[in-house]
């Protein structure tokens, strides 16, 4: 009997370790150096990302992106309006845990950061944004899609990436445009999504817009991204439903499982269509799944590879870190630039002045976007949009809208099902 008890404790503990929410109290910072300029004359910016844990690959990319931005600004002479003051990046590891992110944010603020960028996971960002608000230090969110973060009415939080509402809505529009242009309009759509706030928010916003555009959406199938071992059963449900298009909203590992299940089950859809999918637009994806991922679409926020400055950054990243730059790193790069330009505009390193300058600013971006980064009264980037990408010949190509296209979309994207 004792062992059963031990085992029950073990299960409970592993849950606790995996998912305990942050409730660590943290007082307001009382002793940040006045003006935000340290005695050495550098201005500190905090970078909060998951450098270890399950999302470490993305977190490290994003931290590298922030470092490259600081380096570029310093090489160009620092902040001119503050006498050429140099920037200094304080990197912190959130481990992907809300409570760690919260205490690290507090630490960076106490060390004198005039602005924060981060943090990738919505749950972590939610906690960090409350620290930013309490200490009156601006937080520029590079990646975190949950709508709820900016629904708090916070004054010190801004988001560069498009919200899940914008992502889902635009994705439905692009699907309608591309499939109609190919004379095989998508009429019925199945949605396969991870069950967390991200996946369900994308499902809801996509479904709402798709129905307006005359598509029928269903079935919607949820799975647990952290533990799902296989998606063939779910794919067979899609096959049995006989839909035109399969929409997939999830992260990297489950995206790979989805591609494998598509290859095994052959659901017979015209297109596998990711919405803000964490796998389908990464260079690693076609490398890992090979032919199984060919023709997959993804409507997602993305670096605009048609911009020369973006190509330079991609080359620099490749040279420096020996890896292909991901869009997350570009968002961090842009987010640091948002703070730097606000410092320049405010001609002050006082966090509140920086916050006001961010709110009224307009900053050029390396992202595919409908204009420069500019924030509305809620703190959302007004010009953030997703674009459509497709795996073509083993590489990710931008295919839609036309102004961002590197290649024409191939629709239907899936080969006709092989009869078994």
């Amino acid at each position: 009997m004792r062992k059963t008890w031990i085992a029950a404790v073990a299960c409970a503990l592993s849950f606790g370790l995996a998912a305990c929410g942050g409730s660590a109290p943290s007082g307001a910072a009382g002793n940040a150096p006045a003006g935000g300029v340290s005695p050495e004359g550098t201005i500190k910016i905090g970078s909060l990302h998951p450098l270890s844990g399950a999302a470490a690959a993305d977190g490290q990319q994003m931290d590298n992106g922030a470092k490259l931005a600081v380096e570029a600004i310093n090489n160009a002479g620092g902040i001119a309006a503050l006498g050429g003051a140099k920037l200094e990046l304080l990197s912190a590891d959130t481990q992907g845990k809300p409570e760690v992110g919260q205490s690290e944010a507090q630490r960076l603020v106490q060390e004198g950061a005039v602005g924060l960028v981060g943090t990738y996971q919505s749950a972590v960002t939610a906690n960090v944004s409350s620290v930013a608000e309490r200490n009156k230090v601006p937080l520029v969110i590079d990646v975190s899609s949950a709508d709820s973060i900016l629904a708090q009415g916070y004054k010190y939080t801004f988001r560069v990436q498009p919200s899940s509402t914008v992502l889902g809505t635009r994705a439905a529009q692009y699907l309608s445009e591309v499939s109609t242009a190919a004379n095989t309009p998508a009429k019925t759509v199945a949605v396969l999504h991870e069950q967390g706030p991200f996946g369900t928010a994308i499902r809801d916003s996509f479904t709402a817009e798709a129905q307006k555009l005359g598509m029928t959406v269903g079935p919607a199938i949820a799975y647990d991204a952290a533990s799902v071992p296989d998606l063939t059963t779910q794919m067979t449900q899609v096959k049995a439903a006989g839909v035109d298009v399969l929409v997939v909203a999830g992260y990297y590992r489950d995206g790979v499982l989805a591609a494998q299940a598509v290859q095994t089950v052959q659901p017979g859809v015209d297109a596998v269509y990711g919405v803000a999918n964490g796998a389908f637009d990464l260079a690693q994806f076609p490398a890992e799944v090979g032919q199984a991922g060919e023709g997959f679409f993804d409507a997602n926020y993305h670096a605009d590879m048609t911009k020369p400055a973006m190509q330079d950054l991609a080359n620099l990243y490749e040279e420096r870190y020996g890896d292909t730059i991901r869009t997350g790193a570009v968002l961090s790069y842009d987010s640091v630039n948002v703070i730097a330009q606000a410092l320049q505009k405010a001609a002050s390193a006082d966090p509140t002045a920086v916050r006001d300058a961010i709110a009224g600013g307009s900053v050029d971006t390396l992202l595919a976007s409908s204009g420069p980064i500019a924030f509305d009264e809620k703190g959302e980037n007004k010009n953030a949009i997703p674009i459509l990408m497709q795996v073509q010949g083993g590489t990710i190509r931008q295919v839609h809208p036309d102004s961002f296209a590197e290649a024409a979309p191939v629709y239907p994207g899936q080969p006709a099902p092989v009869s078994r």
Partner: protein, 327 residues
Amino acid sequence: MTTTAPADAAATRPPLPWGRVAWVLGVIVVAIVLAYVQSGSGIVVSQAVVTGILVGGVYGLVAMGLTLIFGVLDIVNFAHGAFLALALFATYWLVASTGMHPYVALGICTVVMFVLGALVQRGILAGAMGRPLENQLLITLGLAMIIENALLLLFGADPRSVALPGDRGVPILGAVADLSRILAFAGAIVLAGLLFLLLQRTRLGTAIRAVAADQAGAELVGIDTRRIYMLTFAIGTACAGAAGALVAPLVTIEPTTGAQFNIIAFVVVVLGGMGNVVGALLSGLVIGLAEQVGGLLLPGQSPLLSVFIVFVLVLFLRPQGLFGRSG
């Protein structure tokens, strides 16, 4: 603890109470029929059953080493998932650097992990044997963190994969399954069989069962319990090594990949009866089916919901596990 045969003696009794197996099978059949009524598609249900059995085999495979260590050493080994990750990376490294077949790497992995397990038990855990539960628990937890972060340092955070040459979809009863999954399932059955033979038919196995049943008694009849502890931990870790090589073609390999199996593996261990290797394989199948068929029965819910409904029900009705003897 009772004075008659305690639950600790799990490893000493015949592997399966057949009446209870039949009862479990009956429940599964009812669940499948309900899933058919709910979804109305025979192909979806047969796919769920095939996938559930194959995935369940993987769960059982991962849980076998854990249950052995649990049953004999009384250690809640939180490092089991990290050992699995280590084996995944070892397989990846062997396959990527020498181009060898993943199943050739299986042999190497198993031996390397056996030695590592022996070293870890003798070097790190031996001092904590017989001490309060938290001591060993915290040691294995720390070990898991060290292994995961060492892998992160060495290999970086980018996901990796191992391809099985000639992998393809195989049709079964109107459903399809990847060949790599079928082979991993076969590997799980072979491994369970080997462990069963080892425990039931060899001197070492008899000694292990004796230590599991009664440590003091085993010492009285001249069994070197320290050696048995070391060998059992090594065998359990070698199981994680074999599981890693078999599972490598099925998963995205990251330092945290092993940890994602931890929770399910503990559930499987408890359901199967602590220390019962064949029970672990069977309850792995139960959990795999609960996840897949339950996903159909409760559409829109997390598949894990049905797993934990089954888990809670079993803990409530049979706290010693589905295939454990009453305490």
